[in-house]
Symmetry: C2
Subunit: 358 residues, 2 copies
Amino acid sequence: MKVLAVLYNGFKAAIEEPRLLGTVENKLGMDRWLASRGHEFVVTSSKDGPKSDFEKHIVDAEVLITTPFHPGYLTRELMEKAKNLKICITAGVGSDHIDLNAAVDHKIQVLEVSGSNVTSVAEHAVMSMLLLVRNFVPAHEMIERGDWQVSDIARNAFDIEGKTIGTIGAGRIGYRIMQRLLPFNPKELLYYDYHEIHPEAESAVNCNRVGTVEELVSQCDIVTVNCPLHEGTRGMINDHLLSTFKPGAWLVNTARGAICDEHAVARALASGQLRGYAGDVWNVQPAPKDHPWRSMKNPLGGGNGMVPHYSGTTLDAQARYAAGTKSILQNYLDGKPQAHQNVIVGTGKYETTSYGIH
Amino acid sequence: MKVLAVLYNGFKAAIEEPRLLGTVENKLGMDRWLASRGHEFVVTSSKDGPKSDFEKHIVDAEVLITTPFHPGYLTRELMEKAKNLKICITAGVGSDHIDLNAAVDHKIQVLEVSGSNVTSVAEHAVMSMLLLVRNFVPAHEMIERGDWQVSDIARNAFDIEGKTIGTIGAGRIGYRIMQRLLPFNPKELLYYDYHEIHPEAESAVNCNRVGTVEELVSQCDIVTVNCPLHEGTRGMINDHLLSTFKPGAWLVNTARGAICDEHAVARALASGQLRGYAGDVWNVQPAPKDHPWRSMKNPLGGGNGMVPHYSGTTLDAQARYAAGTKSILQNYLDGKPQAHQNVIVGTGKYETTSYGIH
């Protein structure tokens, strides 16, 4: 049996740091285990185009392992060539790089390591809010270049306390963000989700549900995106929706880049309609060198908190998702049932409503 | 009566942003009010050396207003020349730029706007921990320069969850930091302070007191400094104490720069004994262009989260400390009692133990 994994290269870092499990070099720590069971394990970072290792090996792989950080995009077209493919495992959370409808049609299961890095992402989102609202990046750059002018920083620095904060999506990550924000004493915590939070969980974080995305963004000083990418959320944050935000709001997106229209966000930041935008997700990964989100700024020269996609791949998270990936694969090999919360697409049908209601 | 205020220049920013109250231009919003009461109000940023406005006007001022962000250093020598000086008001929190023992001897009262920016500083400290532990600065710089190499960031990125975090000082700021950290699920919250926290407050944040600073730092993954600067804390974090930290710990100091030996910190970061250092306070302010904290890095090229001193001067904080300064001055002018928590030095004696036990 062939197991194919598309991971990112770690190079020198992966040799020096064995806890970088999610790299080509360290192979999710599963190399010897799969060999001992007699399986072929192909690990590559080459993922784009017909000459890539991904397209070469997908034709006879039975198991495909991918990550959201360096996604191998499994299209319907590729699936049609993947005659042996039975199961796709996302080492992490977020399987939008796989055509899920096509997986249903081809009876290919899709699983992810639910919960493995939700805490990591929630921490990153709260950090991103703090550093935008408190105007950290221009302040640090001022120190690096040898300057000192407090008023130029303070004029656009605020506290989180007393702000209205809303999450689009209140699942495992969105809820954890609200838990972490509560002692910062926000004015109000709001959420939009088609699932209602259990009343006890709702009162534990003192949050309120609103009926539409428009209603949410029009009331919030800070908006955070914590929903999966699917047909219903792709391009959701566009010129129109951004025009209904409170002027000067901050937007944090650690969900998926393609939920936002990249040019609309850059325009809103340049005009000051957004005071800041931060996150680690991009509509294409790796992001091209000229992607507007690398250099976009607000009218005062700040408001950009972008990083590469790594919030869910801290060393702490890698330990969790490597273990979770192995566990899913072990269940598959042994014919044991999978933990329900990890199953996105079962054999021929969706097992979750996280990727839209089908 | 002459009121002298030493504030920072806001220049264009202060003209464009009237909420920058703590600037020379916007004069804490007290200009008209003091004029209407017939007082002379001198506001300047010129504070260093015998030709500065500060030294020129201190000789006949009755009230001195200063801030920690651009401190007018009131030495014993200057106090001896300040024949009319009756009261020093710190617009903010932290009055270490005033020789408090000399103020006792000269029967000059020292007050500060206690609590006015403790939330702002606590938020900054939590942000600083997150961005060090999660390796934000190298990640953002990677995006700015057009690169994308997740493993180079992830190899030194961790979660706050599960870490042991300790505060040196558990007063208004230290306690607020623990409140905000609690839902991040640290392994343990520890504090060192010569005041014991009330048992109810202690159990509310599930923290434990340790008996010495050495005992604290040897157990912690993350250490945060939240005590005032006084004779007992100046230079406390030196080569010796840093050698007792857990190897690879992170240190956040938003209290006062001179609590740390600047060269010892830079050495510990360069060697990797510290994985990161962040904060907004410096032993001299403005920091000179060649201050080692501007450019120091850990062996992987990150770990520096320094900014100019502004955490307590967000626009939200400025509104609070401007109002508090006015209220203290109004009490003084009207002969009304001051709120006890604002009084550092009363007439001829310390009224707080925050600056050491005298």
